[in-house]
Symmetry: C2
Subunit: 905 residues, 2 copies
């Protein structure tokens, strides 16, 4: 027996007990000792304590890892005897002996910190094998091929993981894989299982030579030496570069250390009385309570993953014609598994995903964890557990992944159908759609009218495309991020959208789209059928079958709990009466953002809008605005009526005027004809209004400083609409919002204009209207001078989209070119247009809240950017003390849930 390097002391403050045993229906540790035993070790201990058949083993504590570093990479003196005692415990339970030629004990070694952490040492199986014990294994299993296959796998894993041969010897690829390939080639064999035992023996020998040649060390035949090397390798991997970076990024401490788990091997591939499988305590698609899962006879766990053989169902219940279940072939094992399943779910109080192996009719439970599930199952399981008294309503709420709620709202692609993914973009709006490719909004409308289902494929979309976007089943763009025009509009409608799909190059005149790959180009034509999955960003060729979703009734119950527990108000962003009604159905408590510019694009008014923009002086502008006034009033009538009794925040005109002008020669001609002006006049105005950076241009309140009459007429339309409604007995509550304020003087001047206009209308109509005037906070400057701005505002609404753009200096329309890489390279944790950048943007918001409230403690505060529907951002908003968040109607349910979670945390 080889001895490890041992220090003369046991290290500072190190407790006596360094090793915790488990197995045989009991354990020294438990689930509460996660910090000491790591997640895996604590789980194995807990299962043992529950009396479940866990292969016996022991855990070396995380304390030892810390001591190992303190002691300059040597072990504390009393570790050796405790490890020895651990192995003896395993030997006693299994009856096998470590290194015994006849009945050798084989063990696995795994790392396990308190949290799962990439970069640490992987699993190594089959410690204990050498040229002698392999023969014993062959004899006892009566399967020499199995024994030598296990042996050659062990050597290669050991060489790869423990000895780290590729890096140490500077090899480009795994040398063992190479030898294996050469052997198969020489024998004309294509699959590993076809290798005869002789070939395996030759490989064992070749592998050992490779190790001694490349690393100048001899593969250890002493099982103890093998084991101690592995323990050292686990500890060393704690400080691997990748693990260190991961901890740094996640703020995890280097002092935590990792535990080491040593556990007896069990085999599901020793004959037909053996099996391996995965079981769920419930159906993960529906949440229905009944054991669910699959298994393979005479197989190893990796065979299930590889998918070479078709697994069979565990339970008779729900199995198809011709399938043979575990219940059929091994009823005793099945019943044991059923008991284990019940025990584990009631113990862990959640649906479990259990790995098990059957060795010669004996069930072994290897692992259990909370099972992944669909959205409906997530809700059903939680509510069912509440009904069973196993968890509280608050626990049920906190267990929901709000993002998964969208699976309850949109049709999804049949998870079992094959997919041929041809491109991937950003998952901009959830749900799936199938349709024929069209390239213009006009085509989309025309094809839809003749009964076709289409996907609108564009480089990017603009407000002009609205009709076509509405006509399409789904939208796919080559440019733009999660808050690009296409993404925002689609989410608002609950329509699937993939944005920023960079590999598309669209030629809309030719009617083709080229999909670039590193090596090839695939061309789609107008009319080709594609499927898009807005939840994953995948584009598929052809029609993938769709599955409808329905809201389970359990969901209604859960939302009652959520509404009771949340503090944040939830509003919706809606620009039309239809959207407003939808939002109200989803439970919105008001409109947080009603954009007036979308209204400007309607067919009945765009001409007047354009006439206004082309007007050379104020009086012609006013004339054009007089035409727009009644139409706008009608818009506001509809929205205010739909939200009777609830506040409606209406943002006055925000985008730069050039967005409303026509593009392209033909369109310009058409518009100039309609307006009876020369195309040159239109063109000249387009040129004059062109901006290099429209995001930072002449828009928002700046428009009103230059052309006060625009906001004047909009205010008139709002207040006139409110007066009409109040007269009818409808409780209209408009909140007028002025966008893009950076200087207190802007707001002061324009607020005066708005209030004077409103008061004039009210005085004329003789009706009392409760309205308020506030501003968006969407520029860094507005945040730092929020105290001065608050003097002129009754509410602040954080426009977190623009605030993110300006704070980070990132255009959301262009960011697709580098932001994904930023997230991949971990420069950013998440797309800041999806999840609020709390470190940057969030700090400015904190400044704004603090300064705004210092002047006006009761000022109403909300978020109306896209972040208003993002759970993490909602959590931030809750902690910031905001009054409400506002999001797309389709995210109102998610936001209600997330707000409750934030309050419960």
């Amino acid at each position: 027996m080889t001895s490890p390097k041992v220090a003369e002391t046991k290290g500072n403050g190190l407790p006596e007990k360094l090793v915790y045993e488990f197995g045989d229906g009991r354990a020294e540790g438990s689930t509460g000792m996660r910090d000491l035993l790591g997640g895996k070790g604590a789980g194995l201990a807990e299962m043992s304590n529950l009396g479940l058949p866990v292969p016996p083993g022991f855990t070396i504590t995380t304390d030892v890892c810390t001591a190992y570093y303190d002691l300059d990479s040597s072990y504390p003196e009393n570790l050796k005897e405790q490890v020895l005692s651990g192995i003896q415990h395993v030997e006693a339970v299994t009856g096998a002996k470590f290194g015994d030629p006849d009945n050798p004990l084989l063990v696995s070694v795994r790392s396990g910190a308190r949290v799962s952490m990439p970069g640490m040492m992987d699993t190594v199986l089959n410690f204990g094998l050498n040229d002698i014990t392999v023969e014993g294994l062959a004899e006892r299993s009566n399967d020499p091929r199995f024994a030598y296959d296990s042996y050659r796998r062990f050597i290669s894993m050991y060489g790869d993981v423990v000895l780290n041969i590729r890096q140490e010897a500077g090899l480009e690829r795994d040398p063992f894989e190479l030898l294996l390939e050469q052997k198969k080639e020489a024998l004309g064999i294509s699959e590993d299982p076809d290798l005869p035992v002789e070939a395996l023996k030759e490989l064992v020998s070749a592998f050992k030579s490779e190790i001694s040649e490349k690393l100048n060390v001899i593969f250890p035949t002493d099982p103890w030496e093998q084991l101690w090397s592995a323990i050292g390798a686990v500890f060393a991997s704690w400080n691997s570069e990748r693990a260190v970076i991961y901890r740094e990024l996640n703020g995890f401490s280097n002092d935590w250390g990792t535990a080491v788990n040593v556990q007896a091997m069990v085999f599901g591939n020793l004959g037909d009385d053996c099996a391996t499988g995965v079981a769920f305590t419930r159906n993960p698609k529906t949440g229905e309570r009944a054991i669910f899962g699959e298994f393979l006879t005479n197989a190893q766990g990796e065979d299930i993953v590889a998918g070479v053989r078709t697994p069979q169902p565990i339970s008779k219940f729900g199995s198809k014609e011709g399938e043979v279940s575990l219940e059929d072939v091994q009823p005793k094992v099945f019943n044991e598994l059923l008991d284990a399943s019940d025990l584990l779910e009631s113990h862990f109080k959640d649906m479990q995903d259990i790995e098990f192996t059957v060795q010669q009719n004996k069930l072994w439970v290897l692992q259990t964890r909370n099972g992944k599930r669909t959205g409906p199952a997530m809700v059903n399981v939680a509510v069912d557990l509440v009904d069973q008294g196993m968890i509280t309503e608050a626990e049920a709420l906190l267990r929901q992944d709000p993002e998964q709620i969208s699976e309850l709202l949109h049709p999804i692609l049949d998870p079992d159908a094959p997919r041929k993914v041809i491109a991937t973009g950003l998952p901009a709006s959830p749900g799936a759609a199938v349709g024929k490719v069209v390239f213009t909004a006009k085509e989309a409308s025309e094809w839809m009218e003749r009964g076709e289902e289409v996907i609108l494929v564009r480089t990017e979309t603009s407000p002009e495309d609205i009709q076509g976007m509405l006509a399409a089943k789904g939208i796919l763009t080559a440019r733009g991020g999660m808050t690009s025009h296409a993404a925002v509009v689609a989410r608002g409608w609950g329509k699937p959208c993939i944005a920023g799909c960079g590999s598309l190059v669209i030629d809309s005149t030719e009617g083709t789209v080229n999909i670039l790959d590193n090596s090839s180009v695939q061309t789609l034509k107008r009319g080709d059928v594609i499927s898009i999955d807005g939840s994953t960003g995948e584009v598929m060729l052809g029609a993938v079958p769709l599955v409808d979703s329905v809201l389970p009734e359990t969901f209604e119950r859960m939302m009652v709990w959520a509404d009771r527990d949340r503090r944040l108000g939830i509003r919706a962003n809606a620009d039309t009466p239809e959207d407003a009604e939808l939002a109200r159905e989803f439970g919105a408590e008001g409109i947080g953002l009603c954009r007036t510019e979308h209204m400007f694009f309607g067919d009945d008014r765009i001409l007047a809008v354009r006439r206004m923009i082309l007007a050379g002086d104020e009086s012609s502008r006013r004339e054009a605005l007089e035409e727009i006034l009644p139409v706008q009033r009608q818009d506001f009538l509809g929205i205010l009526r739909a939200m009777a009794g609830l506040p409606v925040t209406i943002r006055l005109l925000d985008p730069p005027l050039h967005e409303f002008l026509p593009q392209g020669e033909e369109e310009i001609k058409r518009v100039s004809d309609a307006l009876t002006v020369s195309p040159d006049v239109v063109l000249q105005r387009i040129t004059q209004l062109h901006e290099f950076n429209p995001m930072l241009g002449h828009r928002g309140v700046r428009l009103a400083v230059t052309y006060p009459e625009i906001y004047e007429v909009q205010t008139q339309a709002i207040i006139e609409a409110a007066c009409i409604l109040v007269d009818e007995g409808v409780d209209a509550r408009p909140e007028i919002m002025i966008p893009l304020v950076g200087m207190p003087q802007e707001l002061e001047q324009i607020r005066d204009l708005v209030v004077n206009t409103a008061e004039a209308v009210i005085a004329k109509k003789g009706v009392k209207v409760a309205y308020s005037v506030g501003t968006m906070i969407e520029l860094p400057r507005a945040c730092v001078v929020a105290d001065q701005i608050a003097e002129h505002a009754e509410f602040f609404s954080f426009g977190t989209n623009d605030l993110t753009q300006t704070t980070l200096g990132v255009s959301r329309d262009d960011a697709g070119r580098f932001l994904p890489e930023y997230v991949r390279k971990e420069v950013l944790e998440a797309d800041p247009f999806v999840t609020l950048d709390t470190q940057g943007v969030g700090q400015l918001m904190e400044i704004a809240v603090e300064r705004g409230r210092s002047v006006k403690p009761a000022i109403k505060l909300g978020i109306c950017g896209e972040h208003g529907g993002d759970p993490k951002s909602i959590d931030f908003g809750h902690n910031l003390g905001l009054d409400y968040v506002s999001c797309s109607p389709y995210r109102v349910l998610i936001a209600r849930l997330a707000a409750a979670q934030a309050a419960l945390r």
Copy 2:
């Protein structure tokens, strides 16, 4: 005698003395009593104390104004007797009597707060006139026309200013002017002086009727009633809307109040022994010490302003053939004026601008103030005063207007030459130029080569235009603000530039530029001659003569004092060895910003740059970069050599790559030929790289995250150049700067890349190079996470241009459309791209400095935006505790001066 409304108390804490007399060679007040007597009153008192012949009068203190408001618009009880006593004092000195039919005393009434303030009551002259006293005046002056002209002027001023007739009666225009015009029309007279006395009498009567008709009040015939109304009107004007807004904007207190000055009238138009004029104690163009000015015989002050008659010089010295000086015609008065001039300059210790009137051979000094002067005079006067021991060096420095220093550096338009201004833009780069209009950079170069002087007129410029901009005498753009490409480049070169001249519409293919006016269009063709004044923004048709400027030797002396007193270091922004040398000549202590992208545009490398951009993978990119490497190294060799011993901050590539690609079909064809690729490939890449908001796009450090090899090769070029120089014994000190950092991780990753590359070069060359690595702080996010960023930076350089763009959400290239209006409407105090927005951007900078220093107290801090050359921004930088500012070479002198002033303040 009519009594004013008097309160029964004298008001809280009001002192006994409310009226201060002056005149007759003495005064009760003095220059130190500005707060009590207002600026004008204190000045009149001071001149009286000096024994100068000031028309006698008295000042009602600002205390009275405050009391007037406290007492609900009535006067304190003891004011009446003090005003009476003041009038008696004036009567005693002049011998005339207020209201006396034979020898009537006439007085003027003027407001006067401690600072000059628009919106307050203007001067009203000739109080004391009525139907009776006017006859006395006619008799004594022996000039009835003069008397009635004075009378009708008095009534109209009184009606206008004291009674405020236009506003009170809601009139569109001045009713008295209207009557005057009608009278002239009826008599067929075109000029006022041609009106006969009878007509003036009729006007007097008509004016009085107008007042009673329109206002229902009778024009007061009692001089005392006239006087008290005027005093009340002055006090009321203190709270006029305009004055209140002005105080609010400037942070002046409403409690200051205004004083009222009542002063005897003197007349320069009572005959040929009368005169009026303006005298400077020195030549305001050169600063030369000799009385300088002009006068008109038998005239009023306004006649000089009107310019109907040609004024004559005061002194024989310097007068031209045929001119008759005051010295010639009234030598005694001239000598008195000379004495007064000497006295005033030595008393006020600065060049004075003196208004005087001669009434019947008697000199009266009416006002003195510090005289306006040219840049050279400003310097010469201050140094001369130091030499005379009248002021200290610090005082001399503080008196300089740093902006005026640019007048010493650039040719200016002859101030005496006529100008026909056809358009006005932003004064983007000072100095003047004359040349023929060309529309493309190519034309500019070609025309220059054949000996023509040209002005490059473009919608905007881009880095591609550099050669043409260099060839042109001046640059004129239709778009862009004070920090647009054209403006920044031109200032760097000291070349005149007007930017954002919005009325220009350029058709470069037609070769014309249309200048739009409200009513008309003027068309200039290619080759037409224009003159531009980059200091005023004026564009003139034809050639206006130029005057060269030279640095006076006094300036050198002043800069020695400045350098001794300042704490801030001054560096320059320079991209070429020539600029670096120029900057060094101007006294720059290093390069604060060397932009590497300008280097990418040279003819010898742009092709390689484009090949790099078109490259599909890293290895082809590296190939192209290998071509660029030696050329870049050569650039850095030149700059580092020119700045030997001084730090040179080199910014790695910043602009988005599409800026380097060709534009227009022809150019694309040319480039694709040169690169032997298809034009489609170039076009596709251009389309792919297009950005909606390039300012917020894929640029700065983001380029390096995507294409690390670019920064790698740039670093290699810098460090190799430094190694070569150090080897030669030249002290090269590169500071490598990474732009557009917003996230600490960006800097951490890219800093590693830079340091590893640098160390590899240094190890290879075996030479010791002292280099440092830092970052620009130019995003709001960088400011709030400056503590984390500081961990990876040896210096911060505030990129205040971009920080202003992102903090305010304003694109400097587009801002021309609304920023001027913002400044006009006082939403902003100044163009934030010229003078740092201390309230917004400044607060973020304070946060950055505080957080950066909290982690790294010794971190080096500077500004390298355009603000580095702006005096107010330099003052802010000094107070913020920065180490240096960096500006265009041509502004280094200004910055040195401004830094000294900041330190002295």
